[in-house]
Every structure is written in C-alpha cells, then in structure tokens.
Symmetry: C2
Subunit: 250 residues, 2 copies
Amino acid sequence: YRQCAIHSGIKVRTVKKKLEHKWEPKSEESTSCINENTKMIVLNYPNNPTGKVLPKKLLDEIVEIAKKHDLFILSDEIYSNYSNDEWKSILSYNYQKSIITQSFSKSHSMTGYRIGYVVSSQDVINKLTRLQALCLTNVSEPIQYTAMKSLNDDVDDNVKTIDERLTRLQEICKEMDLEFVNPDGAMYIFARTKNPINTSELCERLLEEGLAIAPGIGFGDYNEFFRISACQDIKTLNEGMDILKTKIKD
Amino acid sequence: YRQCAIHSGIKVRTVKKKLEHKWEPKSEESTSCINENTKMIVLNYPNNPTGKVLPKKLLDEIVEIAKKHDLFILSDEIYSNYSNDEWKSILSYNYQKSIITQSFSKSHSMTGYRIGYVVSSQDVINKLTRLQALCLTNVSEPIQYTAMKSLNDDVDDNVKTIDERLTRLQEICKEMDLEFVNPDGAMYIFARTKNPINTSELCERLLEEGLAIAPGIGFGDYNEFFRISACQDIKTLNEGMDILKTKIKD
C-alpha cells in the first residue's frame, strides 16, 4: 500500500509499532499522524507480518477517529480466516467510508491465481471499476470461474492445517530463544534474535542453503526481524528451521 | 492508451485520420503534434478500428521523426497476425527507444485470458516490472502456463477463419452501400452510412435486438462510424447484418 500510494504521489505516514508493546499501535499515535490533508487510514489486521489482531476497544477508537475526521478506512482483511476470536471486521461498523479488501490467496490457498474482491460503497466501487478498466480490463475469465466455484468450498481444513504448522513453528522458535509475540491470526511468525543481526544479509545467505524467509526491511523499519512462514508441511518446517539454527550461530 | 495517459496526468495529442485519406496519417501532421515536452509516439497498426496498415515509406518517416526528437515509440501490434504483406513491425527498425506490445488475445483467440507481453530495452522492462509489481504482482500463474503452452500452437487456422468471415462481411457491407476502406489487417470493418447517423443511439437500439456493434465514439471523434466485428461464424454474421439493415432503414 505504501509503495502504491507513493507511486501515485500520495504522502504516507506510518505508525511504527514495537514488539515490546505487543505490536499494538496507540490511538494517540494514529491521531498525531492526521492533518487537514489526510484522506484515509489504512489498516491491515490480522497483520502481515506480525500476526497481530487489534483489541476491540482500540479498533473502536480508530473507527471513531476516522468518523471525526471524515476519513476513508481501507482495511486489508486478507488473513481474517486465520484469526482468533478477538478479530472483528471493519465491515461490522457499517461506516459509509469503509473499503474492505479480501482475497482468495490465503483463505482458499489460491495465491498464484491473483484474485480478490473489495467491499465498499457504490461510489467507491464505481471509481475502482473505472481504474480496473484502465489497468486490467478485467480479471482473466477462467480465473473468475475458478474463484466462483471455490466459493462453495469448505476452507476449515486449510485453517486447521496452518494452525498445526504454526504451533510447531512457535515451539521451535521458543527452543531457539527467538523473540516474538504469539500471532493472533497468521501463517507466519515475525521474530528477532536476542542479539540483533542484519537479517537482509542473513536471508541472502539462507537462500543459498535452500531456505527462504523474509527480511524485516520488506515490511518497513524492522531490520532486525525476519518473517518465517508456516505454509510448508511440518517435516519441511523442521528441516528449514535446522538450517536457520546453524546459520544464526555462524 | 489515451485514457491511461490522461489518468496519469499526461497530455495527449491525437492525429485525426479520415476515411477520405484511406485512414492514412500524414507525417507532417505527426510532426506538428510534437513540442519540446513530447516523450512518446503511440502507434497502433494494424489499426483498431480501421484495419489500416501504414505504407512502409510512411512508417520509415515516423521512425525518423522519433529518432530526430529522441522519442519513445510505443507500438501496439496486437493485430499483426491478421495483416497483409505490407505490415512491418517497429521491432525491425532496431530502434533503442521502441516499446512493442503484443498479446495472446487476437493471435491465439485468448481475449478472456488477459495475457500479453512487451518487447523493449532492458531499462524499460525494468521500469514496467516495478509498475507491474505494484498493480498486479504478476499475471495469474495458471494463465501464464496456458499461454506458454499455446506458444506451440499453429494459429494459421485462426487467421484463415477470420479472413473468410471478413470477406463475407465486406460483401454484405458493399451490398448495403456502407462507406469503408477494405481493412489491411483486422477482424472488423469500420464503416459509416452514406447519410451520417448518430451511431451511439443506433448501437443502443441494436443491443435490444441482440446485435452488438461498437459506436465510433469509442475510438475518438468518429461519431458517424461503427465497427462491425467478423469474429462470429458466417451464419451468425448474416443474421446480425440482417438486423443492422432493418434498423438502419428505420
């Protein structure tokens, strides 16, 4: 979202979150980012990469801030299927200026298909439709049919599978003494070592060993963190984490 | 291209072409559009909607103009498969600032799949890759595999089929006394009636009869023209043109 906005000449102010605060933004920090030119608050919860879900009270406050300043709320809720009970969609506030983005990528394990959807007011949808006509014409027809068909699928098994893998990944990370917050809704863990290291370099070296993890810098000013995905089967996860253990010791 | 450019805040100057000049732009007209801010010439030959292919001499002149003013040439050559022998790709000039767009939509009859490609310098491709990452991430993976597979297909039959249908369509248009130039490379005819009519209104009325043709206004300041596609089988073409005959008389 940041790069898209910047490419369109839009100024972005990011609320920096900290592991020490359980990745929770303070509503005062959000407010201090707002000036008379602000048009939109962008949320992404369950969060990529931290797996954080906002407490209901904080979410209530953010929606109140948006209403007070007449701001759009763009809420990327792509990981909602994998969240715990705490999670609440922005849709449930019935706020007119809400824009909710969703996708088949995570819920239906269809990342490579590149199809999702937006829930918003008729006015916003009309504008997005015009923009889509310029950029894409439309999503590929076979992919639209595939997505429609998959709407009937029961995706509970996907959630269960990821949950098992994530539980195992958390165990290994604890054994390794990595610092992280247990994710509220995610397919990954965002962690750092006790002694900070340059994770961009680490990730490059790991690629040579056949292990791909994402360096924190890809998610903002989080250079000492890395994101480990739990999408592979448990055997592969174990093998991958063995590689990570060895390389972190180096 | 016009709408995409305007959306990005880019000024567009269009060279108006006329049926009376066989849809041929004069190179003087192209030159008079150029000022010190001009960055790019956009070509689309074989042309949609006229089916025009530029004479080689005129294409040579346009490339010379681009070189002289150091302009990019963006050449949309999506209908190249359906062109007569006169057609020459901008690629053949080996001009560094060329950008050629191609697609599987027409050559492989895969319009609904929404996949194409660009041939250009490494520098331009790098910039387009960054833009694609922001807009699309990537083209849907199954669609990429489908397109790769279809690269091995012989598409001559598609060309032959369209040629037969277009020949039949030309016969009917002549019988109907419509004014048009025989297309050099196309799947359609861009025509007008002897007595000019409002084709936007006509097209709306035809939709109610089950006939879809494209009003000229969709292609610029060509309000009295309409584009009739030859993509349906000959029986359907005959039936469609019968509807058109009746409604034009009304």
